[in-house]
């Protein structure tokens, strides 16, 4: 299977490390770009204070819980690198031919790049987002014994986000302009990913739809788990995440195998 081709895990760890180091160089730039995160958190802190006051709740979260929930969904969203645009460009321009002859799996290479960059962005954005939420709404009570489960949830969420974007990027094998798919994806993240409100707050029908699709497992569920941890929710989330990682990995593998046959190398 192409997804697993390319030998040891070691080299992908090295690729991830290089990607991480590249991003660390621009650390100041990352902090500067977090201004948008602060802006949106400020607006929503005002909104939730107005809507929920001190006692009311939506989907079991009070105004403090809602803001912290949003810290995590937004941090995932703004930290997810646009590695799919590189893939799209390589497929469209034919540069992918140069990558295919190298001794690594194309998919795993980009997954490693994605993870390295995501880690740096995630840490910087979370530092800023959490500091802001702490100052404006107060602390979030987190039990450290749950940290391992939370990190596992975030790791699987990263894999889902990568696979969703990568599969859409591979559409470039068949369609010249795949940007509209990403526009739609961004809006679906907003709605079915529960970027601003937990999907549990949605009307019944829509909530069920979101439970069946992958975006809820990569945004809403891990964020909600941090804010309101419980084991029943954790098992349900992990099951959904694992199922979607498998489905998407198989899909990406099939798309890549089929798509790569269409690449014509003309030399030069």
């Amino acid at each position: 299977m192409q997804l697993a081709r390319g030998g040891s895990v070691q080299k992908y760890l090295k690729v991830a490390e290089i990607s991480l180091t590249n991003r660390v160089v621009y650390l100041a730039d990352h902090f500067a770009s977090s201004i948008f995160l602060i802006l949106i958190l400020f607006i929503f802190s005002q909104l939730w204070k107005t809507v929920l006051g001190t006692n009311a709740e939506i989907a079991g979260l009070d105004s403090t819980g809602m803001l912290w929930y949003m810290v995590f969904t937004e941090v995932i969203a703004v930290s997810t690198p646009a590695s799919h645009s590189l893939v799209s460009e390589e497929v469209k321009s034919g540069d992918i031919a140069y990558r295919l002859v190298r001794p690594y799996s194309y998919t795993l290479y980009y997954f490693a790049v994605h993870c390295g960059e995501f880690l740096v962005r995630f840490i910087t954005n979370l530092t800023i987002g959490a500091a802001f939420a702490y100052l404006i709404m107060g602390p979030l009570a987190v039990e450290w014994v749950h940290l391992g489960w939370v990190l596992l949830g975030f790791a699987l969420s990263t894999a889902i986000n990568f696979l969703v974007s990568f599969s859409l990027a591979l559409v470039a094998f068949w369609l010249e302009d795949n940007r509209p798919f990403f526009w739609v994806l961004n809006k679906l993240i907003f709605i079915l990913g529960g970027l601003f409100v937990p999907v549990e707050a949605y009307p019944e029908g829509l909530r069920r739809v979101s439970y069946l699709l992958p975006l809820r497992y990569s945004f809403s569920a891990p964020a909600r788990l941090v804010v309101n941890f419980n084991y029943a929710f954790l098992w349900q989330m992990l099951a959904g995440q694992l199922v979607w990682v498998i489905i998407l990995a198989v899909l990406v593998g099939a798309m890549f195998r089929k798509g790569v046959r269409q690449v014509h190398v003309h030399g030069g």
């Binding site: 948008f36 005002q46 107005t50 809006k187």
Partner: protein, 267 residues
């Protein structure tokens, strides 16, 4: 003076027409951009729809107010992007010495830079603004014309703010990111009701980041027309555009040519 004004209007119209024809060259791509932008904006309303299934009013703002807010903000943005699309790229032009092309032309530099570009996808924003306005209010020809005046004034406010933000590059060098973040702040605040903000924040939103003049005041005017509010909006838009023009030309004195040997077709 009348002839000069007529010539300027013709100049603006010719650029607008050329930009439109250029976008229409790839009709399929143009239509898909417009449709996707319309859907994109529509999805932004989803959050408010969910929220208003749980609450009746947000400090006096109903779902209908939110619809008008989105109509005003997206209409203003469409005016900026369609008529003055060059306002998004001034920083880069300054930092890379690309203003040479405009300086050599016998036309007003700032106006020429502003109208040199137009974003095709903003037709989707305009279609969205008009559709939401017609759905959320009781439309008549007079009200619709009034709405167009409001979004044009909002567009002038957004464009002037963009010119001010991007003109920082005359003093700071590469500051496109800062300018974009300021623009992002203006647009973001324009899409949330002023009733959720404290008095101090509102003061900022009617001065430093003038979201109040892009969407809050237009919503008030649409709800209850008063000559005072309408005049305030128009005077503010005019005043801010004069200030933006002053700052841009002040900065232009510091501009250094890039001596670039390039063929300038659009930029």
């Amino acid at each position: 003076m009348f002839t000069a004004a007529k010539r300027t209007v013709k100049f603006v119209f010719q650029y607008f027409s050329a930009n439109l024809q250029s976008a229409m060259e790839y009709r399929g791509a143009f239509l898909s951009q417009v449709i996707f932008m319309f859907i994109n904006n529509l999805m932004l309303l989803f959050f408010w729809w969910v929220l208003f299934t749980r609450i009746e009013s947000l400090n006096g703002w109903s779902f209908q107010h939110i619809l008008l807010l989105y109509a005003a903000a997206s209409g203003a943005y469409a005016c900026q992007a369609l008529l003055f699309g060059g306002s998004f790229h001034i920083s880069r032009a300054i930092a890379e010495g690309r203003l040479d092309f405009y300086l050599a032309m016998p036309k007003p530099v700032l106006l020429h830079v502003l109208i040199s570009r137009s974003s095709a996808f903003a037709w989707g924003d305009l279609a969205f603004a008009l559709t939401i306005f017609l759905l959320a209010s009781s439309p008549s020809l007079g009200r619709t014309l009034g709405f167009i005046v409001l979004i044009f004034a909002g567009g002038v406010v957004m464009t002037s703010f963009a010119v001010l933000a991007h003109s920082l590059s005359f003093w700071l060098g590469h500051s496109a990111q800062l300018a974009n973040q300021l623009m992002e702040a203006l647009l973001s605040f324009s899409l949330y009701p002023e009733s959720i903000f404290s008095a101090t924040t509102r003061l900022v939103l009617y001065t430093v980041i003038p979201a109040g003049f892009v969407s809050y005041l237009p919503v008030r005017i649409l709800q209850e027309f008063t000559l005072a509010h309408e005049s305030l909006l128009l005077v503010f838009a005019l005043g801010l555009s004069i200030l933006a023009r002053f700052v841009f030309y002040r900065g232009l004195k510091r501009y250094e040519s890039g001596n670039l040997v390039v063929i300038n077709v659009v930029d």
